[in-house]
Subunit: 490 residues, 3 copies
């Protein structure tokens, strides 16, 4: 389906849904499409097993009406058995206006590591931290440290970043870092690529030091190449190069033995390395099944390998990576069936475990390890202010089911987007819940539409029962294409 | 089994078969061997489950007699439920003398992209296109374009090429291309490697432009290293380096958004990238299970991943890649059992599909997508001339079952080869049906025996029912070892 | 569990076991832990299904008593149905004092290829071979050849080496080799990295020539990066980079067509290449499931791919790689269940084989191929001297079950170690049985504690029945980090 048909301005939500439904038939085999159908059945009373041009409008109306009910988000969380959600938040988020015990903040650092050459990112950092970047490494570290303090005071439980396949974190000497910082401060995006790369590595290393200092887990999502499909729809442009190795992280894992590194990998072929590194390094923790590896065949293979070789207390089975709350339940349902299958075949069958033992293991990787791996570090009580209700607008019903991406990615804040507050990825069906400061992004976005689409927060739940979600940003994680793939002005 | 025992001249077909049968016992576990036994049972009345020194001669005689019947190829196609076969044809093939509605031409371009430095390839191009390579880029493009017109007028439905793991297609500027062309025209194989590589990329890019212009799908077979096993038997020399990424093709996929790229990958570890790129790029189409990935374990894993994440209308389940018509049925039989297994377990079992839904999906990927992905582009009526009957020679019976490779690869057109017209790959058991102009190849072949074995066409069927074959050349695909692995005279 | 808690000197064996048992609970899901429980049940009368702080001491006492019985190693071999064990021996091992028909020697060459720059390695070579390294290539070759003769005279059946992912064997000209040898002889570890690398390739190539000359199989274990986890426990430091390709070995496999190369790969993603290279190269033999690929999920996938595409007479199904004799049976038991599963599903189920046929195939890859692949090359009768009894010390019971690594890796020959003679890998649970000359190692060890831990022999059995073990050193295989990862003095 041509991008123009779904991402141009002025398409009303109903018309947009109609257009998208026309293309759904070819996706009926995909697991992504099954999540959409599942959530419509689960939350909107849908009774068919496919959304077609014959039944979509009834579904649209049903969903619209259902979501108009009071406090729909809470209803979704409750129906999904979700107790809390891990967000990912821009580094300058005020973290105010929502209940941080239900929506747990996480410090997202892509902009700091990869985009510090952009004047607006430096301005945001100065403004948020109240500390000007003077050109000294101390001022840079102070600004970053202030952000750690701010986030931890507001209940943050992780620092997170997504990393391209060619990123290789190593320490950068003060001298080199100072030269690089100087170049970036004076020339911004015109600074030479080696300076920008050196500064990236330095900022990354400083973040690891701060994670160590503040006992914050450092959540690594390894493998994304940004903007590979340049003509793709919003959040449908990133791909990867499966030729990545965790050997690139040996210095990091060795140096920061006390920092927990939950690691997600994009390609299933990297999963065995993840298993092996987690087997050997006490601080490496396999984390969920991410993005292009989040389909049953790869989950089956990868999860089985982890369950049989990585200590049971240092793996996080799954996070839904949902962009809309409604997607949490179907995605976890998929994982749980696969997990049950593995436990039945490999543990009860091959290894003679009892059913009770198998369920205990499943429960632990699904739900039991999160609190120990991501402990509450904050002394401050969570804010009690209610969350801005993002899911009560009338046209959210089907938008919430994957149909309103155009609004978000068009770059024009259309009425639709404003009204619903929710955007979705038409490729993966993942839903996004934008919260907070869009202004700086918008300005930036005008400058560089391709690489600077506003990247809203997104939410996933922390379930009470078996369900457990550590929300991680995937598609929406920042990051530019790696240096050598960009046009670099000299 | 030493190569000399099966590839030296003067071994009669019966003696050759006897020798080969002696080595079959050690292969009885392989799926390739199971195809051979299956076809003997299916077509030649063989009733045992292994070919041994005790029963081979009876089989030989039975097969010989069976294949002597009138129009045996048609009988095989009919018994195999095959409606048409996709060939791969040398760029200078006249495409005359056979029914192009049953044997559908396809423009194979390896020689043009990788061997243009050879004088004989340029001569073939000039002769076939009627257009001298004057040294201008226009004359080069004109010659290539003439070949597109010729092929399309004769019913061609695809342009195809096999590519080494280190190939990275990018546009080459006119200036650079002109320098490269000049070097190659003047120095031929003595042109510097960078010039030859630049010209390769330029020709490849021009082919993509012509595919765009003529709406011809561009069939990419990615990953072959040629002549790795230098002492191997004919078609038993090529291997691969699994460290290849589709990121190398990002420029191509982005630039030619309207060209369909059916993609085959050699290594199963590349399959997840293929799935992901097909998920994101509308013009990337996973295509069959090729060569070293064409065994049950890899098919099972790779096909399941595609079926659950790639839109159902843009994947081609299988092509048999048979070198003899008799191999089509056993190979498809293998695939269909695996496909049925995936549909039963993953779709009916895990996802609750009905049997009808599952069969519809299976039928579509097996048979339904080929006409839409490879439409008939020709206005000219297909030629009605009967195909030269390649399978009526008396000694073809067992030769057709994988035993006569020596003749083809010996470089000496022996009586055996002339009589049977059929050659086989003793490693994979795949059979080859040489058709057309061997003369130019022969001349070349005398110069460079190792890399220039004659590469005959080979045929696969397009079945009426579930069976669907998009024939692609594998082992016989041209291509030299990549530049840096060759001895380059300066 | 912090390394200091288990590797510091002066911890008695009982206390050490107590400490380790406290951490076992988190490993209860791992297959490695299941081997430990299995062997305790199998050999020490343990009746629970987990070793806990409540039951460990009883188990400790039971095991201690059991292992005090006369000739316990023979009892283990007999109970495990093991007829012989392949060792790996240092190149200067005298190979005396044990029965080489039960404990079959194998020439381990890591030190020769990668550590010849160390004075002590050269001294060991001179001393053992009785031939001074004069600076000529002839003297080097003569010394190596003498070692081949020594080993073959003592019943050796293989030459073995483990190789880092970036190793790419190619021939080195005499001139280049001479320069390199000169640099290494004069400067030792201060020789430039390119000289050391050239000498490594030359020695490796010479070993291949000697394997050719003496008909000794050359056992390659490809993919280890040493000392990745610098703070890890003994034998818990090595990892890998899965980006390795057998294309790096094309020259080797082509040049030495008559040398058998049993190949083990560290990463499952390399297994398809191994299958394909074994399919094409007569001298490439897939060998077992090694280390990080030795868990059920990867064995299942990798073994199935081999069984369906590699000739049945040129694959070795499994070796246990046990560091203690007691681990052989549980590890083979795991493999056999998986093998049975593959045979039942893929051969009897999918391909319609009879049960008898399937069992024949299973028996062949488990037990039938070893004698033909590793024939007895020695005319000398095996020495009849009894093996020094390594498993009769009282505190070996639980030590033999994975608890006494500290002693070995502490670098202090503690009373515990002396008494038991057995050490184990606390990560994998694999047990090591040190035999022979430790003196030279000890001296070396004092110089470079991190990389020069004493690496004892270890033993695996060659079973009478289905069980078959080709013992290969993994974790204990020598080898430094590849050149570019080391600090190289210039």
């Amino acid at each position: 389906m041509p991008k123009e048909q779904i991402e141009s301005a002025g398409i009303g939500p109903r018309e947009l849904v109609r257009r998208l439904v026309g293309g759904l038939g070819h996706l009926s085999n995909t697991v992504q499409s099954s999540w959409l159908v599942d959530l419509c059945q689960r939350f909107y009373g849908f009774e068919d097993d496919a959304i077609t041009l014959d039944n979509w409008e009834t579904l649209y109306d049903q969903a619209e009406a259902t979501m108009a009910s009071a406090d729909w988000p809470s209803t979704v969380l409750q129906k999904s058995n979700v107790s809390a959600v891990f967000l990912t938040n821009d580094f300058d988020d005020t973290l105010e206006g929502f209940d941080t015990s239900t929506y747990i903040p996480c410090l997202r650092t892509d902009d700091l590591v990869f985009h510090l050459a952009k004047p607006e990112v430096r301005q945001r950092l100065s403004a948020a931290s109240g500390s000007e970047l003077s050109g000294s490494l101390e001022s840079l570290r102070r600004a970053l440290e202030q952000r750690f303090e701010h986030f931890i005071a507001h209940g943050a439980r992780a620092c997170a970043i997504s990393l391209p396949p060619d990123f290789c974190p190593t320490p950068v000497s003060d001298g080199r870092a100072l030269t690089a910082l100087d170049a970036v401060l004076h020339r911004g995006l015109d600074a030479d690529a080696p300076h920008r790369a050196a500064l990236s590595r330095r900022v990354f290393w400083t973040l690891a030091e701060l994670c160590d200092q503040y006992r914050l887990p450092f959540d690594l999502k390894i493998g994304v190449n940004r903007e590979v499909n340049r003509g793709g729809v919003h959040q449908g442009r990133d791909l990867y190069d499966s030729r990545v190795s965790l050997i690139q992280y040996r210095e990091l894992f060795n140096t920061f033995a006390n920092v927990k590194f939950p690691v997600s990998v994009l390609a299933s072929v990297t999963n065995q390395e993840l298993v092996s590194y987690a087997w050997i390094f006490p601080n490496v923790i396999p984390n969920g099944h991410w993005w292009y590896s989040n389909t049953p065949t790869y989950i089956r293979h990868d999860a089985a390998a982890r369950l049989e070789a990585v200590p049971r207390n240092k793996q996080i089975g799954y996070y839904s990576d949902a962009y809309k709350l409604e997607f949490i339940a179907p995605k976890f349902e998929m994982y749980r069936r696969i997990l049950a299958d593995i436990l039945a075949e490999n543990f009860i069958g091959l290894r003679g475990w009892s059913e009770t033992q198998a369920i205990e293991l499943g429960t632990q990787v699904l739900r039991g390890n999160v609190e120990t791996i991501f402990p509450d570090l904050s002394d401050a009580p969570p804010t009690a202010a209610p969350l801005p209700s993002p899911a009560t607008a009338g046209d959210r019903a089907v938008a919430g089911a994957g149909f309103s991406a155009a609004a978000a990615s068009s770059g024009n804040a259309s009425a639709t987007e404003d009204a619903t507050g929710l955007v979705s990825d038409p490729v993966t069906g993942e839903l996004t819940w934008p919260v907070g400061e869009q202004q700086e992004f918008e300005a930036d976005y005008q400058l560089d539409r391709e690489s600077e689409l506003p990247e809203p927060y997104h939410a996933s739940p922390l379930p009470d029962d078996l369900l457990e979600v550590i929300e991680q940003d995937d598609e929406a994680f920042g990051g530019e294409p790696p240096a050598e793939r960009r046009e670099e002005p000299l």
